[in-house]
């Protein structure tokens, strides 16, 4: 008998079970609930077969313009994902398990978490990492709170080159807390040293920086971090992990807390999620770090195994005194990143970064050859850059959609006075033909 749900019971079993319980019907099981609170039915559509549902949902998927050639970035990138990544994620043993509360039957998940933490530390050149946070934005918020906890101070300086979406998130989360924010404007696409040093009085808990920053510009922030340390503040740096295939690491710049969005490590764009927040820090701060952490240990026979460790930081033990309220995080996304990193390896991750940088450099110069297009900053960039157009970037980008391009992001949406600036991202996915095509299309409309 076909039924609407995935319930396997046949009629005789229902009868036997009701008898064993000692009730006449299922309704009797709800007798504690006053009748006035019980409904007969819901006003939602009747169920459908799998075939029908595939038709309906696929029809929705086709109403999204994923055919546009993608030069959109802003912290979220169209990267190549090796086939092995999805093949591993589809393993039901990973997909349909939960948080590894019983480590003896969760060594797969736990070891993968441990390997992920190791990869994050090796990429960033930091000491310890957690097993994931929700996304790059909540990771910055957690890092800012961690800096406040460690220093006992309440002011956070945020560079305006930090992704504006993340800065908005930071503000939402701290509205009702005793945390003050000060945003430090950028100078030619870079962290403004003078302003930072001036703002770094003895009350600052942490500075939040991003490299590459929202404009795609890259920097050696060692001096800003040193100034922060001198003022007793912690340095939080948000990074784009693929760029670390070639760029100077936050560890080498002496950052204290490193966070970022891990989507570039094997996750699809997915219209904004699920993504992957990560966090790494120095060893001495590990007990102040939020989130799940896998640690290595042994069983009674001396066999190596992995467990969730330092749980005394967490909500299920510490309740309102926990370092964070996080419970379910982004474990499967961290697995995707772990498999991606293994597939790319030491050589591949650098090669991807180089391909991105070379493609972007070519695209930058190609687009600057278009009459009317000008450079916005003189700064060096990784795989994303700003260009200044002769008119409102929103209009230009909108017209390029008709030519088949998602050409870039109009920066004026978040930065006043930059209405004519577009942010263009170029990954290893883009070809010379696509870049040339974009330049030709741009030339034809401006």
């Amino acid at each position: 008998m076909a039924r609407a749900s995935f319930v396997p019971h046949v009629e005789t079993e229902l009868r036997e079970m009701l008898d064993a319980i000692g009730v006449a019907c299922i309704d009797d099981l709800f007798r504690d609930i006053p009748a006035e609170f019980q409904r007969r039915s819901l006003n939602i559509p009747k169920g459908q077969s799998e075939l029908e549902i595939i038709r309906a949902v696929t029809a929705l998927a086709t109403k999204n313009r994923t055919d546009l050639v993608c030069f959109l970035g802003g912290g979220f990138y169209d990267h190549y994902r090796p086939a092995a990544v999805d093949a591993m994620l589809a393993r039901g043993e990973f997909l349909t398990a939960y948080t590894p509360y019983q480590p003896e039957v969760a060594q797969g998940t736990l070891q993968a978490m441990f390997e992920f933490q190791s990869a994050v530390c090796r990429l960033t050149e930091m000491d310890v990492a957690n097993a994931s946070l929700y996304d790059g934005g909540t990771a910055i918020y957690e890092a800012a709170m961690m800096a406040a906890r460690i220093t006992g101070r309440a002011k956070i300086l945020v560079d305006e080159g930090v992704n504006p979406i993340y800065r908005k998130m930071l503000r939402s989360y701290t509205t009702n807390l005793d945390i003050a924010f000060e945003e430090v404007p950028v100078c030619d696409g870079h962290a403004d040293r003078e302003r930072f040093i001036k703002a770094l009085d003895g009350t600052v808990a942490g500075v939040v920086l991003q490299n590459p920053n929202f404009f795609g510009c890259i920097d050696d922030l060692t001096d800003v971090i040193a100034a922060a340390h001198k003022a007793g503040a912690m340095a939080v740096m948000s990074v784009y992990p693929v760029s670390l295939g070639m760029l100077k690491t936050p560890g080498a710049m002496d950052a204290d807390i490193v966070v970022g969005e891990g989507q570039s490590l094997g996750l699809p764009l997915n219209f904004g999620g699920p993504y992957l927040g990560f966090m790494a820090t120095r060893r001495q701060h590990v007990r102040k770090m939020p989130g799940r952490i896998a640690g290595m240990t042994r069983d009674a026979q001396g066999r190596r195994g992995f467990v969730l460790t330092l749980q005394a930081r967490e909500q299920h033990i510490r309740l309102e005194k926990a370092t964070s309220n996080i419970c379910t995080n982004e474990n499967l996304c961290a697995l995707a990143a772990t498999v991606y990193i293994a597939m790319m390896g030491r050589h591949g991750i650098r090669r991807v970064a180089e391909l991105c940088a070379d493609n972007a450099s070519y695209a930058y110069h190609k687009l600057l050859e278009v009459p009317g297009v000008e450079r916005t900053f003189s700064s060096i960039f990784f795989n994303e850059f700003c260009i200044t157009l002769p008119r409102d970037a929103r209009d230009v980008v909108g017209e390029l959609v008709d030519r088949g391009y998602a050409a870039g992001f109009p920066v004026g949406r978040y930065y006043k006075g930059m209405e004519n600036v577009a942010l263009v991202a170029v990954t290893e996915m883009r070809t010379k033909e696509e870049i040339d095509g974009l330049a030709a299309a741009l030339e034809s409309i401006i």
């Binding site: 995935f6 079970m17 459908q48 696929t58 997909l95 441990f114 070519y362």
Partner: protein, 482 residues
């Protein structure tokens, strides 16, 4: 098993990347901005990778391989069609900034409609006026919900400082309330496993912003005093928060909105069948009553008069951005697929059988294990191993013995109000045969606790590793490969 790093051989590489298609760059990134040495990532072949992670996966219990009655987690079957739909190119290759371009909403009509319709379905299921799909997990939904409560009180000029939470609550409740800026007052439970209404009444002063409740509660019971509690809390302009971790008992039958709740969060990865992924990604939709609508996070998906969908960022009283975009979209796709596939009847049937299965286990095991509260339960039943503890066998021993018998353990030592708690949530997807076999295994363990308790202390013996030294893990703190 070896770590992936231990399989490394210098020079090996799985990645098959294309040659560079553009002419050499005119300006290279200078050395001072580059890393000094390559990251020491694995140097392995594709087969090394596939074999390593396939073999790792085999060291997990999961819903696809084992009965997984982990209480409060709703480990129901995750339909495979959900996965297929989430992987459609039209969804997974969609850039989240696309709709933010001018007229960009037109480019993502399918995705926006899917979010909008999911919100409508969940609003009807919960009895709420509006939903947001943005929270990325249950606890994130809690934080969002408490932020909404705070915004409401601020707008009204209410001076509220405290949130009341029963002692049977999930740890995330007090943690979420605290990080939203409230102090937490714990309300004790009574001998019936319900919140002590008299204690609540004593604590319910004008500075109370609201009360966070789980319903059915974490001992699997419907709070019979709920109607009175709702009226009391509203009488001081407090708000009622509904933790939806246990909604799987209620769908199609009881709506939190009808019970008087003002804010709800749902765990799509529990009630609505999206996979748990070993600890996420989940999704924590939040619903509110009319008077809290102005405070919902931006963006909102709206339907225009011409039938198209758009994103609205213009809500002056909104709590702002709580996620970078529109939530864990591919999780929402899975939940939408499930909701539409089951429809009104299927959803109600699922909840009915979840409650049936839990009560069947309660009835069949209550002679061997102390049932925490001897009355009809909802979608999960809580036992105490107190009787076994007299023989030196504790909840943890029973949990480990179950692993040897091919079952994931129930949730143990939670809720905190039950001594030696064993919290069993079978879900509707499990058949009577599976549950009968589990019951037999539990009865066998109960017998063994009387006859040979040492055998239970040694468990598990069939798993890849035995009980691991967690004290050493927390002392040595080895968190990365060498």
């Amino acid at each position: 098993m070896e770590l992936i790093y231990e399989l490394s051989r210098p020079g090996r590489c799985a990645a098959r990347l294309p040659e560079c298609s553009v002419p050499p760059a005119k300006a290279k990134i200078p050395a001072r901005l580059k890393r000094a040495t390559p990251a020491a990532l694995p140097e392995v072949s594709e087969l090394d990778v596939v074999r390593h992670y396939t073999n790792l996966s085999r060291r997990n219990f999961s819903v696809d391989t084992h009965f997984y009655p982990l209480g409060s987690c709703t480990m129901k079957y995750n339909p495979k069609v959900n996965e297929q739909m989430a992987r459609l190119d039209g969804f997974c290759q969609l850039h989240p900034l696309l709709p933010q371009l001018r007229n960009g909403g037109i480019l993502t009509q399918g995705a926006l409609r899917l979010i909008y319709e999911t919100e409508r379905l969940l609003a009807e299921i919960t009895g709420m006026a509006e939903m947001t799909m943005q929270p990325m997990a249950g606890a994130h939904g809690e934080l969002t919900g408490v932020m909404l409560m705070a915004a409401y009180h601020k707008k009204k000029g209410n001076r509220k400082k405290r949130i009341l939470i029963p002692d049977s609550a999930h740890g995330t409740n007090p943690a979420s309330a605290a990080i939203a800026g409230y102090s937490v007052t714990t309300i004790p439970s009574n001998s019936q496993g319900e919140m002590d209404a008299a204690a609540l009444k004593r604590e319910l002063t004008d500075d109370v912003a609201g009360v966070m409740l789980t319903s059915p509660n974490t001992v699997g019971l419907f709070e019979r005093s709920l109607r009175d509690v709702v009226a009391l809390v509203h009488s001081v302009d407090g708000l009622l928060y509904y933790d939806g971790a246990n909604l799987n008992a209620f769908v199609g039958r009881v709506r939190p909105g009808d019970l008087g709740f003002d804010v709800v969060h749902l765990n799509l990865h529990k009630t609505f069948s999206t996979p748990h992924g070993g600890g996420g990604p989940g999704a924590g939709a939040v619903g509110v009553v009319d008077r809290l609508k102005p405070f919902l996070p931006v963006s909102r998906v709206v339907k225009r008069d011409d039938g198209t969908y758009a994103l609205d960022y213009g809500a002056p009283d909104s709590i702002g951005y709580i996620a970078p975009f529109y939530g864990n979209f591919s999780v929402i796709v899975r939940a939408y697929t499930y909701l539409r596939m089951l429809g009104a009847d299927g959803l109600r049937e699922a909840s009915d059988y979840a409650v049936l299965n839990a009560n069947y286990i309660r009835a069949k095991l209550k002679d061997e294990f102390d049932v925490a509260y001897d009355r009809v339960c909802m979608h999960e039943c809580v036992f105490s191993a107190a009787r076994q503890a007299e023989h030196g066998v504790h909840a943890i021993d029973i949990a480990k013995a179950l692993l040897d018998r091919g079952y994931h353990a129930p949730t143990v030592y939670f809720p905190l109000i039950v001594k030696e708690a064993l919290m069993i949530e079978p879900t509707e997807s499990e058949s009577k045969e599976t549950i009968d076999a589990f019951i037999e295994a539990m009865r066998g363990i109960a017998r063994l606790s009387r006859e040979n308790p040492q055998a239970l202390h040694d468990a598990p013996v069939t798993t890849p590793v035995g009980r691991l030294d967690e004290v050493a893990a927390a002392k040595d703190i080895i968190l990365t490969a060498g």
